[in-house]
């Protein structure tokens, strides 16, 4: 009898837990989606619709792309997208190269100063970038790097600590016996780095590129500070066009916002698995 009671209880418990599970998932899912859906709805509304209807009323047509076209032209988003892609690709290539080389030297050679360099990077990771810009701005203008795409790119390569950590950690887990046998075969250090270790680092490179790629594509604070002229706007700063006189035309703004994150959405849908594992792997560093 007691046993039967237990199973009934268990059964009820199971139902309650399942119900709570899906209820909470639905609630949270809705809350995550609500701001975005409201944006999407508004982006399809015509001027008059926007002014006369409630924000959550559906638009007359989901095929009204006028706002998107207008926003795209107004904020010069084609150019902005190109700039963003250039910045992202160059920054990723440079940081992968210098990051892996640095990690190679720090993990394979023991020399005076190795620990000092590691500590220097550790300390650098504690400095919040917004605070640093107070004086970096001064240096950037002193080096005439303000308002040049390459200046911004150089700065973005220079302030990168996380991918260096990922490379160091990964490289430490690759056995040095590989290097040693290559040394015996007479391979140069550069050859060991480039032909043996670099290909093995592929998972770490993917992780670093994902983490860095997200942060570079979305970076707006320094882009706003150092890329002020309009042709140099990146995808995120191009949205600044809508600040000011157009500040309340949300049908237009929402369209711009949606355009700005669409590339990220596409990449996310295509590479979900890699992005998730990249995020998880990037956090292990501690």
């Amino acid at each position: 009898m007691a046993e039967k009671n237990m199973t009934v209880l268990n059964y009820i418990q199971k139902i309650v837990i399942t119900f709570l599970k899906y209820a909470s998932l639905l609630l949270m899912g809705t809350m995550c989606l609500l701001p975005l859906v409201s944006c999407l709805i508004t982006a399809f509304k015509t001027e008059t619709e926007y002014k006369s209807t409630n924000v959550m009323t559906l638009p007359g047509s989901f095929l009204n792309f006028d706002n998107f076209i207008k926003a795209f032209k107004l904020a010069n988003m084609g150019r902005a997208f190109l700039n963003s892609v250039i910045v992202m690709v160059v920054v990723l290539v440079i940081s992968v190269i210098i990051g892996t080389q640095l990690a190679y030297v720090l993990t394979r050679f023991s020399f005076f100063g190795n620990q000092i360099i590691r500590s220097m990077y550790l300390f650098a990771s504690l400095l919040p970038s917004v605070a640093m810009q107070v004086t970096v701005y001064n240096i950037m203008s002193g080096l005439h790097l303000v308002n040049h795409l390459y200046g911004y790119i150089i700065m973005m390569c220079g302030t990168d600590v996380i991918s260096i950590y990922i490379f160091i950690q990964f490289m430490e887990n690759i056995s040095t016996s590989l290097d040693e046998s290559a040394v015996i075969d007479g391979a140069s250090y550069f050859k060991i780095y480039w032909q043996i270790l670099f290909p093995l680092l592929k998972p770490a490179i993917v992780t670093a590129c994902i983490l860095k790629g997200v942060s570079v594509y979305n970076e707006y604070y320094c882009a706003n500070l150092y890329l002020q002229s309009k042709e140099l706007h990146t995808m995120s700063t191009s949205l600044y066009t809508f600040v000011g006189p157009m500040g309340s035309q949300y049908n237009l703004i929402c369209a711009g916002v949606i355009i700005s994150f669409t590339p990220a959405l596409i990449v996310f849908i295509l590479c979900q698995k890699q992005i998730y594992s990249g995020i998880a792997a990037g956090a292990v560093k501690g």
């Binding site: 268990n10 599970k21 909470s24 998932l25 949270m28 899912g29 809350m31 609500l34 701001p35 975005l36 409201s38 944006c39 924000v55 210098i98 990051g99 080389q101 640095l102 030297v105 050679f109 005076f112 650098a124 504690l126 919040p128 917004v130 605070a131 640093m132 107070v134 004086t135 970096v136 701005y137 001064n138 240096i139 220079g158 260096i164 040394v183 140069s188 250090y189 550069f190 594509y217 979305n218 707006y220 604070y221 500070l225 949205l239 809508f242 949300y250 929402c254 711009g256 700005s260 994150f261 990220a264 959405l265 849908i269 979900q272 594992s277 995020i279 998880a280 956090a283 292990v284 501690g286």
Partner: protein, 310 residues
């Protein structure tokens, strides 16, 4: 030491030796990253410390800068818009804790079989991939009087008169901003925790299921112990993160109506009022606080790990 001695001894063939090759590789591989590190981190850092003792603007020529000693530091603590702004971090700390709890809860649910699990995971994670400015617009729109949030609450039965101005009312606006921060980052936290939970040995769950353990028991006895480190790490990171919270108030309210966090104020002092000295002093003060927090967290970790070993 060995290098330099060898360098002199075998001058000609030195670059052909292993040692020489090593030095050459080191030089080649280190020169760029270290230059960048010095130019964009250490030199600005030194400048910042120096500037914090001067009264100056960006445009002030070097010889016109006035040395004021510790006056800027005194101002940081005296002016109520500076140091006082740090108390706003408390809101963000509370938010960060809520965020961690939510992330942990949903990570646990989504690590196991759930219908539509992948879709929910994607929905909750995606906000992390949206850029800051877009977030600013989305939430300005979301919180505007009579717009998204008000409409939804109205449908749920609240009357418009009772609803506050989400971004203006000083009783609530900081919470509104904290909520956007949770909205944006909790998915990333969750993905992180899912990664940790997934790395737990599957046989443990099977054994627990055989023993008839229920979900809360599994959570308490298997999941939590194995992800303790990463959770603790995130709790501690959220403290330093809250001290330096900047993005949400900067892009949504621009610090208006009492939402200016320490860094928002510092940013304004530096780039709008151009009081570079004062801004530098503010930055140095916060860096010191973060530094102390980091040392404390290192000690804390040491302590926790020793406990775990015993």
């Amino acid at each position: 030491m060995e290098k330099s001695y060898k360098e002199k001894a075998v001058k000609k063939s030195f670059w052909k030796t292993r040692k020489g090759q090593q030095l050459l590789t080191m030089g080649m591989f280190l020169v760029i990253p270290l230059t960048l590190l010095v130019v964009f981190t250490y030199y600005p850092f030194a400048e910042m410390v120096k500037f914090s003792f001067y009264k100056m603007k960006y445009s002030t020529p070097v010889d016109k800068r006035v040395f004021v000693g510790f006056q800027n530091y005194i101002d940081v603590f005296k002016r109520d818009d500076c140091f006082g702004a740090l108390r706003l971090s408390l809101y963000y700390m509370v938010g960060a804790l809520i965020q961690l709890v939510l992330a942990l809860y949903f990570a646990t649910i989504l690590s196991f079989k759930a219908k539509g699990g992948n879709l929910f995971k994607g929905l909750m994670f995606f906000p992390y991939l949206i850029n800051g400015i877009a977030i600013g617009f989305i939430f300005k729109f979301f919180y505007t009087r009579g717009f998204v949030l008000d409409t939804v609450l109205h449908v749920l039965g609240a009357s418009y008169e009772n609803l506050p101005y989400w971004l203006k009312d000083q009783n609530i606006n900081n919470w509104s901003l904290v909520a956007t921060s949770v909205w944006r980052y909790f998915g990333q936290n969750m993905v992180l925790f899912i990664g940790a939970i997934m790395s737990v040995d599957d046989t443990l769950y099977e054994a627990a299921a055989l023993d008839g353990a229920n979900k809360p028991q599994i959570f308490k006895h298997i999941i939590l112990p194995s992800i303790k480190t990463i959770v603790t790490l995130n709790v501690i990171l959220s403290i330093t993160g809250s001290l330096s919270s900047f993005e949400q108030p900067y892009v949504i309210t621009n610090g208006a109506n009492g939402t200016g966090t320490y860094f928002v104020i510092m940013n304004e002092i530096a780039h709008v009022s151009q009081k570079v000295g004062l801004a530098s002093a503010m930055a140095v003060v916060l860096l010191l606080i973060i530094f102390v927090c980091t040392i404390l967290q290192k000690l804390f970790f040491k302590y926790v790990f020793r406990e775990a070993k015993d």
